[in-house]
């Protein structure tokens, strides 16, 4: 009888209960990216969008679908014939003459019953005057083609109080666009970067070392010999090597080759793949496990701008991590990860090794826990996630929107390093400045003069790139193209999801998009 048929009733029942509910099935393809924790963050988020343009509704579509908690479209505009032609979330000509936000909200809302949507037909200017606290009731604010003075005012309002939501400023015309995320600090525990944690082969913990030394390689059963995990082989051979080399791992090319030859010599049969794997992974024996520099530099970060630390939990964890790395035992390393990659081995030797790692990881997590500030009440699950991802944590420090445009030094270096991105960015800044409060679209000459005014004397923007950017903006200064709106809709929603879930890594700077030559780039990243 197959194991599947001989299950006792308990196991079978468990299996049936494991069948996902409708909500899990609906979100299956995204839960595989950000799991239940990311989904929970989305579902409790409240997003404010300033305008209900084609670009704005495209962004919102990609946030309503994955299931944010709430969105508000703040927009006093009455739908025009122009809007009815380029916005999928208006009911075509039927929407003309009605409030654009009120027309768009139900059409966005029908994408997902679990999301609450509101249309607010006040103007952002009025709300800024009468009810500035309104903006702080959201977890993220997004604007599209908002005039420069208003963005300036809003960005200052949100910047002054570090507990205010991040602000995404999106600008587009014709085939060109850029957007910026304003935040003081963005801390990421689950960055999902592909760097793997150290296996500590060079600094084996006692139970791993003991296990490696206990193996009688020469007298072992031949099948078992071909199934020793490469991690154990490396620890063992390195230990033997160090005994005859003043306690040092291989130091130079010749020694490294000799080390590999020693690995080959241990082979008892030519087809022992575990020894081939050990040779391929031999570099781990002479790679010193320490605190990765990206992580170490977080310990010496200057205090965040603003009055208070935005995320005290993260910083409490970071502080404990620093103290952990100062210990002599464990030896100036990050807490051990219990994640063991797959390797050539039989089940029992692999599972045994896995257990050694897991037990030790638990012990080190307990040490980490003892180092945590006892006054900070941090959820155990968060601590566990932090320790597991300690090698890949990230901290982004941002600037206020617009500071880059006033930073001559940063501009001078950007035009050299990122000529096309800089040209498009400043052309868009010029367009935004010149269209604020004016009805006639600016000419190419006017745009050029405004770009020169923004960057100031002494800075030469690349001529070809600037002419190309300005020419495209002068061609279509008020055009919200459906394809560009959709492209931005996707790009900005990806960033919004990263900001809200605190998973993956958002941009820090201006993301510039050119859909004539189909490229994206980033400029103005804080130094």
């Amino acid at each position: 009888m197959a194991p599947g048929e001989s299950q006792d009733i308990e196991v079978v029942t468990t299996a049936i209960h494991a069948q996902p509910d409708n909500k899990t099935r609906r979100y299956d393809r995204q839960l595989r990216l950000w799991a239940a924790t990311g989904q929970h963050a989305l579902e409790t988020s409240r997003i404010l969008v300033l305008s209900s343009s084609a670009t704005s509704t495209s962004i919102m579509k990609n946030l309503v679908l994955p299931g944010i908690g709430h969105f508000t479209l703040l927009d006093p505009t009455i739908t025009t014939a122009r809007d009815a032609g380029n916005n999928f979330f208006l009911a075509g000509p039927d929407s003309i003459g009605k409030h654009r936000a009120q027309e768009a909200v139900p059409l966005l809302g029908e994408l997902n019953d679990g999301v609450e949507g509101t249309a607010d037909v006040r103007s952002v200017h009025d709300v800024l005057e009468s009810d500035p606290a309104y903006f702080k009731s959201f977890s993220l604010v997004i604007s599209h083609n908002l005039d420069s003075p208003t963005v300036e005012k809003l960005s200052r309002l949100l910047w002054t109080d570090p507990l205010s939501p991040p602000l995404i400023v999106v600008r587009s015309a014709g085939f060109l666009a850029d957007f910026y995320i304003q935040f003081h600090e963005h801390d990421i525990i689950e960055s999902h970067t592909e760097t793997a944690p150290s296996l500590r082969i060079d600094k084996p913990f006692p139970s791993l070392l003991g296990h490696a030394l206990s193996l009688e390689l020469a007298n072992m059963d031949i099948t078992d010999h071909g199934h020793i995990p490469y991690v154990v082989i490396l620890v063992r051979v390195l230990e033997d090597w160090k005994r005859s080399h003043n306690g040092l791992p291989p130091q130079n090319y010749a020694e490294k080759q000799a080390f590999k030859a020693a690995l080959r010599d241990l082979k008892r049969k030519p087809d022992e793949e575990n020894f081939d794997e050990a040779e391929a992974q031999a570099y781990r024996a002479w790679t010193t496990t320490g605190v990765p520099s990206d992580v170490a530099q977080l310990f010496t970060l200057p205090a965040a701008s603003g009055n208070s630390t935005p995320n005290s939990t993260f910083h409490t964890l970071l502080h404990a991590l620093q103290k952990f790395t100062e210990l002599d035992d464990p030896p100036h390393v990050l807490p051990l990860s219990s994640t063991l990659p797959d390797m050539k081995a039989d089940t029992s030797s692999y599972v045994h090794l896995q257990t050694l790692y897991k037990t030790r990881a638990d012990e080190e997590r307990a040490i980490f826990f003892d180092l945590l500030d006892k006054n900070a009440d941090i959820d155990e699950g968060v601590v566990e996630t932090f320790v597991k991802n300690a090698h890949a944590i990230r901290v982004l420090r941002g600037r206020r929107w617009g500071e880059f445009d006033a930073d001559k030094e940063a501009i001078a270096s950007a035009v050299v390093g990122y000529p096309r991105e800089s040209a498009s960015h400043f052309a868009l800044s010029a367009l935004s400045n010149l269209t604020s409060g004016s009805t006639a679209p600016p000419t190419a000459d006017a745009l050029l003069a405004e770009v020169q005014r923004i960057v100031g004397p002494g800075i030469e923007l690349p001529e070809k790139e600037l002419t190309d950017a300005i020419g495209e903006l002068a061609r279509a200064p008020t055009s919200d193209l459906p394809n560009v709106a959709a492209f931005l809709g996707g790009l900005v929603a990806q960033e919004a999801i990263k900001i809200i879930t605190k998973q993956y890594v958002p941009i820090n700077g201006y993301c510039v998009v050119d859909l004539v030559d189909t490229w994206t780039g980033v400029v103005g990243t804080p130094a």
Binding site: P3, N62, G85, E472, P482, T518, W519
Partner: protein
Amino acid sequence: MATAEVLTNGNSTLCDWHDRYYHVDQILDRPGPRTDPSFMAGDGVKEFLRNQCKILVIGAGGLGCEILANLALSGFKDIHVIDMDTIDISNLNRQFLFRPKDVGQPKAIVAAEYIMKRVPGVKVSPYYGKIQDKDDAYYMQFNLVICGLDSVEARRWINATLVNLVDPENPESLKPLIDGGTEGFKGQARVILPTVSSCYECSLDMLNKPTAFPICTIANTPRLPEHCIEWASVLEWPRVQGDKKMDTDDPEHINWLYTVASARAKEFKIEGVTWSLTQGVVKNIIPAIASTNAIIAASCCNEAFKIATSSAAYLNNYFMLIGTDGVYSYTFEHEKRDDCPVCGGESLDISVPRTWTVERLIEMLVEKQDIQIKKPSLSTASSQIYFQAPPQLEEATRPNLEKQVFDLVPDGGEITVTASTLPFSLFLRITYS
């Protein structure tokens, strides 16, 4: 499929209201600095886009839904869409033309109806079926083809079909193919001018190799939860269920696999077998989100718009985007391969040891990343080496499997490789090492 006619009678421009295309017309009324001088700004290009251009969308899923909406808003009015799938609940997190009430309905039909309801004057003609059902005459009617597919096989088929369609005497026979694909926060869009620029087959080696676990690991030394799941689906299912076909969309079947895999994992003290992982492994599920699909579909439609109107240069020829760490993208020209079996014309040089049997050669072809043929049949100009079908021919050629290739094909000789899933033949020039 009479629905396609409901909303459109006669000239679809009747539906156009003043200023409908205000945004798009800013691009079509004047050139930009990088626009090719051949661009004829104004009414001519609008007339072509809105009343003459006929475009085919393959796939009405994650990318397809987005593509249809973008094309409709951009001014394409004669759109055809093919999709063989029906709507599943797991589509609803991104395929935004579908609602819970549509689950089980054909994607192509529901999507077409929704677009026609939302964007007046646009005609979307759906076909609920396979791309392989259609012949050359069908594909010849379109000006452009956009693909939003999740299957390598379907892409290879349409790519080869459009390359074969090219008649040097007839410029109309060259159909630009725009292809998009996504996975999680990553994706790519590309423009293929069949026979002129790098085709889908030329870049086959860029695909990630699918994870394959050795059978001996699955059978004897499982270490990961995935090994237990593979054991349940690859070994236990056929052993216990016999000829019953596994349906990975059937929750009962997944449940069975999950239960069997869990028992195996428990026996070997392996942790981590879950329902979700079981489903992910057996269905080879690729994470998918609305935002990435939006980016890639928009990029595809933007290229279609630029090609149809000449309002700006189109992509030459590959755009890839990675959104996991910041926004990283790379635009480059993928090179055409002279030995591409579809568009290259030259045969592929393969060097094999003299001792290799036909069976070993077939094994190598199946594994080779730039070929990827599942069940190849082999022949030379004068003889049949091995055929997978029909059964009589398979039986007649089976003894050759154990023979050495050297005994059947001379040094420098050519082998023709065919497979039922591919509409082209691969020519190998064999040399012996």
